[in-house]
């Protein structure tokens, strides 16, 4: 009931003031709730996570009602274009191929890319150190693009996999010498679990805007420039007044906004 009251009062507020509020009384976000801690479902079915909290805060600043639409990650861009929702808020990295199809808000966060290998293996995330070694990556990820662009020409055997769990299974079984992926995913999904015993991050964060992109943002339709302006303003506002830091602390011990 309280939610309804908040929504109604927000909607009423939205109708009474605000320039963009006239057009965006309701913002629908597409989300694939399968990527904790960014977006997932609580046992009671409620959406939770860093992205969800950011989205809620953005809607509050836009004085708009937030509606979450669940959608598979594969089909996000077509669904956005078909107006099933107005924004993709689902840890979508900003990269060149996506920018051809859609627009992005300002950066929401930039999680680091790091290599995992056997603890004490002495491997470093460079072509010279990995020459002749097998490195697993998930197909279609920015990490695959990085490894193929920077390591494969130097004689590193880059092996793409259908999904990340197969990469980590082969790393654990010894088929792979190292794996390259999102640091948070590796930490939560492998290193902190019993099967990740004896493995550790090798080397520091990798940086390469061309392949690894510049972080994740909210995917928006190219024609909705007014919505982009409004959301960008909201993001800048929450970064400035400390709201972002407050939400970040709920989920991460480190700086997730990144460089």
């Amino acid at each position: 009931m309280r939610k309804v009251i908040t929504a109604v009062s927000l909607a009423l507020m939205a109708t009474s003031f605000g320039a963009f509020a006239k057009d965006w009384k309701e913002v629908r976000f597409g989300v694939d709730a399968s990527y904790a801690p960014f977006e997932s479902k609580a046992p009671n079915g409620q959406l939770i996570g860093f992205d969800i909290d950011l989205g809620t805060e953005i809607c509050a600043r836009l004085k708009a009602k937030c509606v979450w639409v669940e959608n598979d990650f594969d089909g996000m861009i077509p669904a956005l274009k078909a107006k099933k929702f107005d924004g993709v808020l689902s840890s979508m990295s900003i990269n060149e191929a996506r920018l051809k199809e859609i627009n992005f808000s300002a950066k929401l966060f930039n999680t680091p890319t790091r290599m995992v290998a056997k603890a004490g293996s002495g491997l470093q995330p460079t072509a010279a150190s990995l020459k002749g070694k097998r490195v697993g990556v998930e197909q279609g990820t920015i990490q695959e693009a990085y490894a193929k662009a920077h390591w494969a020409p130097g004689g590193v055997e880059v092996v793409p996999y259908q999904n990340q769990s197969l990469v980590l299974a082969d790393l654990a079984s010894g088929r792979l010498d190292a794996s390259l992926q999102d640091a948070i995913q590796a930490d939560e999904g492998f290193l902190k679990k019993p099967e990740g015993k004896g493995f550790a991050f090798a080397g520091g964060d990798l940086n390469d805007p061309k392949t690894l992109g510049t972080g994740a943002g909210i995917g928006l339709r190219k024609e909705d420039t007014d919505l982009k302006a409004a959301i960008d303003k909201a993001i800048a506002g929450m970064l400035k007044d400390g709201t972002y830091k407050k939400i970040e602390k709920k989920y991460f011990k480190f700086d997730v906004y990144g460089k």
Partner: protein, 237 residues
């Protein structure tokens, strides 16, 4: 569409720049597993129809297991499952064999198609007209000669239409190969999809390549049938 072809035609047909990929890999998987399945299934089919339970029961069990479980699970079993066992990793030869995704894939595909082919051939042997066998016996052929000269050639011919089906189904089944990191045609299509978000053309192009292979396979089997099954064709009025 043109962009995709220009950028990815090499990957779709034979190489991604470092390794074989696409059509070359799919055809390699198909030819090797079908060849293995064919030659292994002839003795197995004879054992399957044998009166001796010691011969027929193990073959029955083999074909029951491999026809009764999805190929995808068999592939995961050989690729991920086997290599997680310490004994496999500790024995040198097993370690070498199961380390390579290609070997695991061929093993799973070969055994799978072998199980189906065995049943097809066994069915054809069972359906051999009794007159053919009687005629052979009347010539004084022993069991081995009877199989070699009469039963096997006759059964293989009659099995052709069902066997051609198995080969085409095997072609379709090769699409699970990427689970074991073997980069077949579908893997390249997935790469294109991930890079361009043009799902329609990415998968449409892959489907076209599969259609071309099937077209050639069907033509070859037509030819084979008209040659070896000529004696079973209906008489022209």
């Amino acid at each position: 569409m043109i962009d995709i072809i220009q950028q990815y035609w090499k990957a779709f047909l034979w190489t991604d720049g470092y390794h074989l990929s696409g059509l070359a890999v799919t055809m390699w998987l198909l030819v090797v597993s079908i060849a293995f399945g064919f030659f292994a299934s002839i003795p197995l089919a004879i054992a399957r129809v044998s009166r001796s339970k010691w011969l027929s029961r193990p073959v029955w069990l083999f074909s029951y297991v491999f026809r009764g479980t999805p190929l995808y699970i068999q592939l995961l079993f050989f690729y991920t499952g086997m290599y997680s066992l310490d004994i496999v990793r500790d024995v040198d030869i097993l370690n070498h064999f199961f380390r390579e995704g290609y070997n695991c894939t061929i093993l799973a595909f070969g055994l799978n198609t072998c199980a189906y082919t065995t049943e097809i051939f066994a069915g054809a042997i069972k359906a051999t007209p009794y007159g053919e066998i009687e005629a052979g016996r009347a010539y004084g052929m022993n069991k081995f000669t009877l199989y070699r000269r009469v039963i096997i050639p006759s059964a293989l011919r009659r099995a052709l239409p069902a066997y051609s089906n198995e080969v085409i189904l095997m072609l379709h089944a090769t699409t699970v190969a990427f689970t074991a990191t073997v980069p077949d045609i579908l893997k390249v299509a997935r790469d294109v999809n991930a890079a361009t978000y043009d799902s329609f053309n990415a998968f449409g192009l892959a489907a076209l390549i599969y259609l071309c292979i099937t077209f050639i396979l069907v033509a070859l089997f037509r030819k084979a049938e008209s040659k070896w099954l000529a004696h079973l064709r209906p008489m022209k009025a």
